[in-house]
Structures are given as structure tokens and as C-alpha cells.
């Protein structure tokens, strides 16, 4: 057998198509470019928000934005205090978490500690279905079914209110908490549970005194992520909570969230470059900062879970 060349020649080596190193390099660069697109997107979001928000604060002072308690940028008597929108967002999110946390945590305990393998196999994916339903469907449900239902029980509940979408959002994000919390519980080493049983403890105290405390980082990560999700939710609150910016803690009256405000302006014909147009970016920046902060905290907690094997 005659020795064949080891050195790559520029021309074909007579044995069919040879992939040149140049082509390999080009492919690698192409793939890298696709990955780098995500960096571009982040940069794009930051730039767009910063640009329009900067213009906005050329017209409106920071004192007004953070000092005023009314939000009426479209009226002749303009007030651009962000607090009513923030309050609306926080109110609905708080109600959502108040629902999602207990349900999510107890469901996680059930799936992780108490359920039979068969029950777990069936119920876990079924629970994921909740997360798969589009938010517009949940919004419609909140307005059309839940609000009238609650009106029978809660006195003076307005047609648009924070309670109804809050509750529906709670059920919507509950699978998120239950799934992440379950991972955290699962990560608790079996040896800890065994040690507890060996000391004579029964199932319940073991769960509450040993398993849960070990999983707090993971559970905290799940909750902060859910808060971020609730803050960023749009359609449920747009449809069911109303479009009236109201600085209040009363869940029975109409309010407007930051996300709902952006929708309401976008629906209409707002010319670009006007103050009204820029308000959606200013509000968007606020929204971005809040969700980013929550995501960062959640990420920190999750890292503690991974490194400390769940130790709080």
C-alpha cells in the first residue's frame, strides 16, 4: 500500500471531497455568531430602554417620576408619578404569591415526599399543563368567571379588581414554584431523612424539621422567580384588573399595572417621539429593573443550593 499524504493539499487529494480547515473555521464562526445573537438581544433591550427613558427624563424630572402619586400622562393635567402603576403591579403580584406559595409548596411536598410513584407519574406532568395555557385564556377566565363568582362572596367587589386576576395568576404560576421546590426537596440527601427516622422521628416532623430547612435556598429561589414572573405578567391583569391607575392596597377596586399601561398605550395611535410614547419605555425600564433584580436574587439563591447541597 503506497503511503498516503498526511499534509493537506490545497487541491483535492483525489479521494473525494475534502473539507478544508477554512470551511471548518467558517462554520465555527457562523455558529458562534448565532450564539452571540443573544448578547446582541440583551444589548438591544438595554439600549432601547435606555435611549427612550433618557429622552423621557429630559422632559420629566426624577422627582416627579418618583415623587408624584398620580399617573395621568394622557390627561391635560399631566401627572407622571410611577407609584400607582407600581402599586398595582405589587398588589396583584402579592395576591398571586399568596396563592401560589402555599399551594406550590404543599404540592411540592406531596410530589416529593408523600406521593406514590404512580401518582407522581400522572400528576406531575398534569400540573405542568397549567403552565401551558396561554395567559390570554387565563385573563378571560378571570374576568368572565372568577370575578362574578367572587362578587357573590366579597362585598363591594368591582367588575375590575386586583383580587380576581391575582388569584388566577397564583394558580397559573403555582406549577413553577412546585416544580422548582420539588427539585430543591429532592436534592436533600436521603441520608438526612434516614438520620431523622433513626432518631425516632416520624414522617411529618422529618419533613418540617429536617427536609424543608435544608431546602430553603432552593425554595427561596423558586419564590423569587415566581415573583419576577408575576411582576412581568401582562394579559391576565390587563383584561381583569382594569385600566385605572390607582394608588391603593384595596384588592376590590380597579387598578392598573405597569404592564397593562404599556398595552393600553400600544393599542392606540400614539405617535412616536411624544411624551406619551416615551412613557411606555420609562415604565418598561422600571419593569425591567424590578424583574432583573428578582431574577438576580433567585439566581444567587439557586447557586447557594447547588454549592451547599441545600443548606440554608
Amino acid at each position: 500500500m503506497t503511503p498516503r499524504a498526511l499534509i493537506r493539499l490545497r487541491a483535492r487529494n483525489g479521494r473525494g471531497r475534502a473539507a478544508t480547515p477554512l470551511r471548518e473555521r467558517l462554520i465555527e464562526i457562523g455558529l458562534l455568531a448565532c450564539g452571540a445573537l443573544s448578547v446582541l438581544v440583551t444589548a438591544g433591550i438595554l439600549l432601547v430602554l435606555a435611549f427612550e427613558t433618557f429622552s423621557f427624563f429630559g422632559r420629566v424630572s426624577l422627582a416627579e417620576f418618583f415623587g408624584d402619586t398620580r399617573w395621568t400622562p394622557l390627561f391635560a393635567d399631566k401627572h407622571v408619578g410611577i407609584w400607582p402603576l407600581v402599586a398595582g403591579t405589587l398588589l396583584t403580584s402579592a395576591i398571586a404569591i399568596a396563592v401560589a406559595l402555599p399551594f406550590g409548596l404543599l404540592a411540592a411536598i406531596y410530589l416529593s415526599e408523600l406521593a406514590s410513584p404512580r401518582a407522581r407519574r400522572i400528576l406531575k406532568p398534569t400540573l405542568e399543563l397549567l403552565a401551558g395555557v396561554p395567559t390570554i385564556v387565563y385573563g378571560t377566565f378571570a374576568l368572565v368567571f372568577v370575578t362574578p363568582l367572587l362578587q357573590r362572596v366579597v362585598p363591594d367587589l368591582a367588575g375590575f379588581n386586583a383580587l380576581s386576576p391575582g388569584i388566577v395568576m397564583g394558580f397559573m404560576i403555582m406549577p413553577m414554584i412546585s416544580s422548582l421546590a420539588e427539585d430543591a426537596l429532592y436534592a436533600v440527601p436521603g441520608s438526612l431523612r434516614e438520620a431523622s427516622y433513626a432518631l425516632g422521628s416520624s414522617k411529618l416532623p422529618t419533613i418540617f424539621r429536617v427536609v424543608l430547612p435544608s431546602a430553603t435556598s432552593g425554595i427561596a429561589a423558586a419564590v423569587t422567580l415566581a415573583i419576577s414572573r408575576a411582576i412581568g405578567e401582562t394579559m391576565v391583569v390587563t383584561i381583569a384588573a382594569g385600566q385605572q391607575p390607582n394608588l391603593t392596597l384595596d384588592p376590590r377596586v380597579p387598578i392598573e399595572t405597569m404592564t397593562a399601561y404599556i398595552v393600553s398605550i400600544s393599542k392606540g395611535d400614539t405617535p412616536t417621539g411624544t411624551l406619551e410614547y416615551q412613557t411606555i419605555f420609562a415604565v418598561g425600564s422600571m419593569l425591567f429593573l424590578m424583574t432583573f433584580a428578582m431574577n438576580a436574587i433567585s439566581h444567587r439563591m439557586a447557586r447557594r443550593l447547588r454549592h451547599g447541597a441545600g443548606q440554608a
Partner: protein, 263 residues
């Protein structure tokens, strides 16, 4: 250790020459200045306890060692007199001349038996359509697998038994028509019967290929190889004709190893 370059008559010319090959991972050195010759159309076995660098050595021959991001290597490896680590050499082309069979059979599960055999040619874009059937039959025949699978060439590669899968991997490596075949403990995952079949195979393959086989089984080395190299702790301790190494070892460490005092 000084290299063993005896020149007894009847010896084949060297196909592969290792010249002061030192290799490692990160801070750890696994091979220390290995110099040896591997003769053409012979079977050379490499024996030694775990961790002595046998696998790393053969992976230095086909430049698979550098696949690891922390791999280091120094020295030369000459194939037909040409240093494979020279800057101008393309490792991809090298691997088409020096084939490898792994410890655990790794046929491609998404491909049929036929496609597995042709995989080497397809992957590198060197398959000629018309020759395909002939290549499949020839390679499977060389690997002593043709009769067993000739009626089910379209079955998935993973549907064979362990021993058959390994012979399929051998066929796949042979289809590329390499000159050298490196085998890294090819039988350690197989039962004795499958092992015996592959050992029989090596006797026929030797006429056309230069074979280097890493094995932890000394009896296997005596059964299949013409020359044997004994590695210990990253050093080449002794290289001799197999009979000589096992009956009249020159180094006391070799004697200790083959009499079972350690490893």
C-alpha cells in the same frame, strides 16, 4: 530507559517510530520519554498495570490525545518516517491512515449495520456510491462478521450482541482502508467466546495491517502478538519478541509483573 532497537534478521521495517514521547494531562505526566519502534504488518501488544500510560500512548499515535483540552505532548511520532506532529500535518488525514477500536464498542445507534460500516467513508466525504456494496461486504468479511449479518444489513447497529458490535466497529475502522489499527483493550468488555473470535481475527488481519493492541490480559498478549512492550508508571520498561519477553524477561520489573507479583 534506553530504547530497545535490536536488529535481528527477519524483522520487518518500522512503520511507526516513537521518539522521546512525553505526554500528560495538565500537571500530571503520564508518559515519560517513550522511544520505541512498531513493526509493519506485525501485532505489537502493550501490557502493563492500570494507569501506566498504555492507552495514552496509542492515543498519541493517532493524535486523539490532544482532543482533551488539558492534554500536553512533546516528542515525535514518525509514521513512515514523517512526524505526525509536524505543523503541516492534518490530524484528520492522519486518522484516516491510523484507525482505532475502543474498549467499549461504540457503533452509531442511529445508523444501520450497513451505514455503520460505511460511516467512516461517509463522514469524511470519501464514499463512492458504486463501491458501497463491495466495501460493506469486504469490511464485514475481514471482521469475520459477514455471514452473521449479511441478511440483516438494514438492522440498527445497536441490535447486535456485544461481541458482534465490536466486530462491527472493527469493520467500520477497516472500511476506511487504514494502514495501522490501534486497539485499546478491545476485548475487555466481551465474554470469552467473543474474545476468542476477535483474537482469531487478528491473525488474519496482521498480513495487511500493522496492529497495536493494548491489553491488560497477558495471556491474550501471548496468543495474538509478535512483539510485546511492557509499560510501567509512564516508562517503557522492556520491548521484545513476545516469546522472549514472557520466557526470558531481561528487566526484573518485567519478571515481577508477568509472574503476578503486582498489578
Amino acid at each position: 530507559m534506553s530504547p530497545h532497537r535490536t536488529s535481528t534478521p527477519g524483522r520487518a521495517r518500522p512503520k511507526i517510530v516513537a521518539d522521546e514521547v512525553t505526554a500528560g494531562f495538565g500537571d500530571k505526566t503520564v508518559l515519560r520519554a517513550i522511544s520505541m519502534e512498531i513493526e509493519e504488518n506485525r501485532v505489537t501488544a502493550i501490557i502493563g498495570p492500570s494507569g501506566c500510560g498504555k492507552s495514552t500512548f496509542i492515543r498519541c499515535i493517532n493524535r486523539m490525545h490532544e482532543q482533551s483540552p488539558i492534554a500536553r505532548i512533546a516528542g515525535r511520532v514518525l509514521l513512515d518516517g514523517q512526524d505526525v506532529y509536524d505543523r503541516s500535518v492534518d490530524p484528520v488525514l492522519l486518522r484516516r491512515r491510523v484507525g482505532m477500536v475502543f474498549q467499549k464498542p461504540n457503533p452509531f445507534p442511529t445508523m444501520s449495520i450497513r451505514d455503520n460500516v460505511l460511516a467512516g467513508l461517509r463522514l469524511t466525504g470519501t464514499l463512492r456510491r458504486k463501491a458501497a456494496t463491495e466495501v460493506v461486504e469486504r469490511s464485514l468479511g475481514q471482521a469475520a462478521l459477514w455471514d452473521e449479518v449479511k441478511d440483516r444489513l438494514d438492522d440498527p447497529g445497536g441490535s447486535l450482541s456485544g461481541g458482534q458490535q465490536q466486530r462491527l466497529c472493527i469493520a467500520r475502522a477497516l472500511a476506511v482502508e487504514p494502514e495501522v489499527l490501534l486497539m485499546d483493550e478491545p476485548c475487555s468488555a466481551l465474554d470469552p467466546i467473543a474474545t476468542a473470535r476477535i483474537e482469531d481475527l487478528l491473525h488474519t488481519l496482521r498480513d495487511h495491517y500493522t496492529i497495536v493492541i493494548v491489553t491488560h490480559n497477558m495471556q491474550q498478549a501471548t496468543r495474538v502478538s509478535d512483539r510485546t512492550a511492557f509499560f510501567l508508571g509512564g516508562d517503557l520498561v522492556e520491548l521484545a519478541a513476545t516469546d522472549d519477553l514472557f520466557t526470558r524477561p531481561r528487566d526484573p520489573r518485567t519478571e515481577d509483573y508477568i509472574t503476578g507479583k503486582f498489578g
